[in-house]
Symmetry: C2
Subunit: 131 residues, 2 copies
């Protein structure tokens, strides 16, 4: 597993298990990567890149490596020209789907309530709002 994750798993008390989840799932694009692999079963590097908002290869590669090091996804390399690499969820990754879904659901609700608050403060030219 990642050095960072190992440190956390070793040193932290049980009081903050939630922060372990965030340490593992909380990188840029990571929840989206896991969701996409949950939907599509298997995706190649380029497919993932296109389905996300085309992050730089450097960034996407690192997130994928971290997820692999933490045991959530598997990486299969086909030694051929042109190269081909397939990513899938591992069992651990599959087990994270309910949590990912919960994060998605709460985040969506939260965003909805907050957008209402924002719109109330600065109405977006909708019905009944004074011009």
């Amino acid at each position: 597993m990642r050095e960072k994750t190992e440190r956390i798993v070793r040193e932290w008390g049980d009081a903050c298990d939630a922060e372990i989840s965030i340490a593992v799932l909380g990188g840029a694009w990571k929840p989206s990567i896991l969701s996409l692999l949950g939907e599509h079963e298997v995706l190649r590097f380029g497919e993932l890149s296109r389905l996300l908002d085309e992050p730089t290869a450097r960034v996407l590669t690192r997130q994928l490596r971290e997820l692999e090091d933490d045991g959530l996804i598997t990486r299969e390399v086909y030694r051929q020209v042109p190269p081909k690499v397939e990513y899938r969820l591992s069992d651990l990754g599959l087990g994270s789907m309910p949590l990912i879904d919960a994060l998605t659901a709460w985040g969506g609700q939260y965003a909805a309530t907050q957008r209402s608050a924002l719109d109330a403060a600065a109405p977006p030219a909708s019905h009944k709002t004074p011009a």
Copy 2:
């Protein structure tokens, strides 16, 4: 709400709602703060500091402000000497409890499996392990 959160809520597509949750809940100590407020109902600054592992006041203050700005907790100041400040969960914060619990549960499970893996690699002087 926090500028960062507002940016995310405004700009991000619905594809990555999970990352909204992580943006809101993912700071240092934040899940622990929310858990503690869930258990204790109301806590003062110093009580929180002691229940956590005594983070620096600077850090704790900022996490609390961010949670307040994002609408998850409330802050009540008693203008007296010595000062007294009480923190509680808001309705939004209460609504995050199931998610916090889910994060805690998954993180705990994950840590357990990973610790097993670590122990298998480097056994900690337990039964049957060669000296």
